[in-house]
């Protein structure tokens, strides 16, 4: 059967037959690297286009429709523009940190690509501490944001970076606790095990109320973690013009922009994996016929469908809600979300111990 996993396996086999095992592994590394980078760029193009179309739809506009077929080449044209633009470094900036920050942010989101299962048996690195790895790596990007804000030698940037730092550090707690809910239910922190445990039902259905609470908290927390509206205080354009990347231009700005969108994809992919069964098709109890039809849809489509559904949800937030204020933002986390998640964790532990899930 022609599936992504099948193609990957045949490439693996061919490489091992043609080269010695050391060279084959090295070549696979290079291949995966190229794949990740090109997927990255592709994702950026698709998501920016999607955002512009979604926002246009919500704002009674048409959106980009001139460049290429139905405007599809618009983001490509924008990228070319950004690449050929001059990347300015302000005079008073800390040159090294200023130029390094966008790459750090980008590397952090690239590393997060590794444990995501894009389709059945198609995963770059099925690390046994998958969930831990994700929560650990995702907090690296805040260092990049702080570096960018600090090194720009701009007050707006500094304020934006400080806001972003406070925000990401706080909301990581809730996101982490929401993820822990599923880890307790699934009994493993390896992502492939978590997906396998959802074969006869996704955790959002199987996990009763705690899973639903955890899902809602996860979505809120990751929206904040990716600095998206209504939590886009780090770059609140009506307050701080552009926040931490005010001084960035050209490709360095594009890297921030790209990593923002890829981060959205990643958090949504993780959300889909943990709560919506990853690449698992939708199965309903004993409806054999229905389940069979669902199995025919390729696993990669299931995964992408769920992920893009969540991405649409997050975009919908952005174009609907006003922005919170910094103290309200922190209140929401420390006074509401964190106690609820802690209680939720207790509840789910109890449920898991009693075996009260399907």
């Amino acid at each position: 059967m022609l599936s992504i996993a099948g193609i990957a396996n045949s490439i693996h086999q061919w490489l091992n037959e043609t080269f010695s095992s050391g060279w084959a592994t090295l070549l696979e590394f290079v291949l995966v690297g190229i794949l990740v980078i090109s997927f990255f760029a592709f994702l950026g193009l698709v998501l920016v286009f999607m955002e512009r179309k979604v926002s246009a739809y919500m704002q009674l506009r048409v959106g980009p429709n001139r460049v290429g077929y139905k405007g599809l080449a618009q983001t490509l044209a924008d990228t070319i523009k950004l690449v050929v633009k001059e990347g300015l470094t302000p005079d008073g900036a800390d040159k090294f940190l200023f130029n390094f920050a966008p790459f750090l942010v980008l590397i952090a989101s690239m590393l997060l690509m590794a444990p995501i299962a894009f389709a059945k048996d198609f995963q770059i690195w099925d690390i046994n501490i998958g969930v831990l790895y994700i929560t650990a790596i995702s907090s690296i990007s805040v260092i990049g944001v702080l570096m960018a804000g600090w090194s720009s030698n701009n007050k707006y940037s500094l304020l934006g970076a400080m806001r972003s730092g406070a925000q990401i550090v706080s909301y990581e707690l809730s996101a982490g606790l929401a993820i822990m809910t599923i880890v307790i239910l699934a009994g493993s922190i390896r992502l492939s095990d978590i997906i396998a445990s959802q074969e006869n039902g996704w955790w959002i259905f199987k996990g009763h109320i705690p899973a639903i609470i955890a899902f809602v908290i996860y979505i809120i927390a990751v929206t904040a973690e990716t600095n998206r509206a209504p939590f886009d205080l780090a770059e609140a354009e009506s307050e701080l013009t552009a926040g931490f990347h005010t001084e960035y231009s050209g490709m360095k700005f594009a890297l921030f922009f790209l990593s923002e969108y890829v981060n959205i994809f990643i958090v949504c992919a993780i959300g889909a994996t943990l709560f919506l069964g990853g690449w698992m098709p939708l199965h309903i109890g004993h409806w054999e016929g229905f389940n069979h039809i669902m199995d025919f849809i390729p696993s990669s489509l299931w995964f992408m469908g769920k992920t893009f559904f969540l991405i649409f949800l997050i975009m919908w937030f952005r174009w609907t809600f006003p922005r919170l204020r910094i103290d309200q933002l922190l209140n929401l986390e420390w006074k509401y979300l964190l106690p609820i998640s802690l209680f939720n964790l207790l509840l789910v532990t109890f449920i898991a111990l009693m075996g009260w899930y399907f």
Binding site: Q59, A236, S238, P322
Partner: protein
């Protein structure tokens, strides 16, 4: 009554907001002193768009100077013109025909609606919601189209002349206005659903930038800003002009004095404007649209003052005439200037995000402040 002027200490963060900044809606320059995110002091710097319109008016005839006032508060251009026309008519002592009165009131209220719609979109955008801006422009566009058909311009109407209006209404005016009323009423609930009832929006607005009624009076605030603090200041009610006393409408008053109260006042004003247009649209009297005036207007020696209620508050026109064809001295009392002066008082101790919300709720138009 006023607290001590905030002092800048070593280590405070001083930030220039503007003159080029997305939330100042023009070339306003604010120097804010921050302690972390908390505002210690706000200093507005004016003059970036000063054109000395008052001085310019001294060399323009009484027919001409009206048009320069469209460039002050460009969102209430028609109402500004209205105030000037009233002052000149007061000097000439002419009575204007009933049809001209009705047309003036109708267009003034349409202007007020358009201005408040733009404010609503910009207000939501200031607190971070971008979508309402586009929704507001959908309805505003209909008003602009009506204006364009009626007087040929969409923003700077210049439709007023001393003695009435420049042309008669376009034959389509009544049907198009009724279409607009029907459409806008159906969309007005969406405004509430999308913004007013949004919990985040209410959190951002309630208790922010509180202005007590005593402060509102002492800073000279007028319009929705004063009315939100419980000060009755609607010129249409307290000093009716152009037959406003014969119309049924309520003065929108709130007692909160915070940003949300100012928001609610403007939302209610939109409803009242709709009611006023409703009352007039079917009963526009027939007859002349302009009183007979001399070709060259000369105001008798003396001082003339007229005031009208623009979308932002009281707009006063003060003319000193020496009996010539041009005014000897002119002075405009613009609402934005006084409202802006309360900004520092309102925003001390609040966060940067609040400052933007307060500025949005003041509905500042910078050319109106600078003139």
């Amino acid at each position: 009554m006023l607290e001590e002027i905030g002092t800048t200490e070593q280590g405070d963060l001083v930030i220039n907001i503007g003159p080029q900044h997305p939330s100042t809606h023009g070339v306003l320059h604010l120097v804010i002193t921050l302690n972390g995110e908390t505002i210690k002091k706000v200093e507005p710097h004016l003059g970036y768009i000063h054109r000395s319109i008052e001085k310019m008016c001294e060399s323009l005839t009484y027919r001409q100077f009206i048009y320069s006032t469209s460039r002050m508060d460009y969102l209430s251009a028609h109402i500004n013109n209205h105030g000037c026309a009233l002052a000149v008519e007061q000097g000439l002592g002419i009575e204007i025909p009933p049809r001209a009165r009705a047309i003036r009131v109708l267009l003034s209220e349409l202007t007020r609606l358009a201005s408040h719609q733009l404010w609503w979109g910009a207000m939501a955008m200031d607190v971070g919601a971008i979508t309402p801006f586009f929704h507001a422009f959908r309805e505003r566009e209909m008003i602009n189209d009506i204006m364009e058909e009626t007087c040929g311009a969409r923003l700077t109407m210049n439709y007023m002349v001393p003695g009435g209006v420049m042309f008669d209404l376009h034959p389509n005016f009544v049907t198009r206005t009724k279409d607009f009323l029907r459409f806008f009423r159906s969309k007005f609930n969406e405004y509430d659903e999308l913004v007013t009832n949004n919990i985040i929006f209410q959190e951002r607005m309630k208790g922010v930038g509180v202005l007590s009624s005593a402060d509102a009076i002492s800073y000279g605030c007028t319009g929705p800003v004063a009315r939100a603090s419980g000060v009755s200041s609607d010129i249409r009610k307290i000093a009716p002009y152009e037959g406003y006393d014969q119309l049924q409408f309520a003065e929108a008053i709130q007692s909160g004095g915070d940003c949300f109260a100012r928001y609610l006042v403007r939302m209610q004003e939109m409803r009242e404007s709709l009611a006023i247009i409703d009352q007039l649209i079917d009963t526009i009297p027939d007859g002349e649209f302009q009183a007979k005036t001399k070709a060259v207007l000369k105001l008798p020696k003396g001082e003339y003052y007229s005031r009208v209620e623009t979308a932002r508050g009281e707009f006063g026109v003060y003319i000193i005439s020496e009996g010539a064809t041009t005014p000897y001295r002119m002075k405009f009392r613009s609402p934005g200037f006084s409202n802006l002066s309360a900004l520092d008082h309102m925003s001390r101790g609040s966060k940067i995000g609040d400052l933007v919300a307060i500025m949005g709720s003041l509905d500042l138009v910078i050319p109106d402040i600078d003139r």
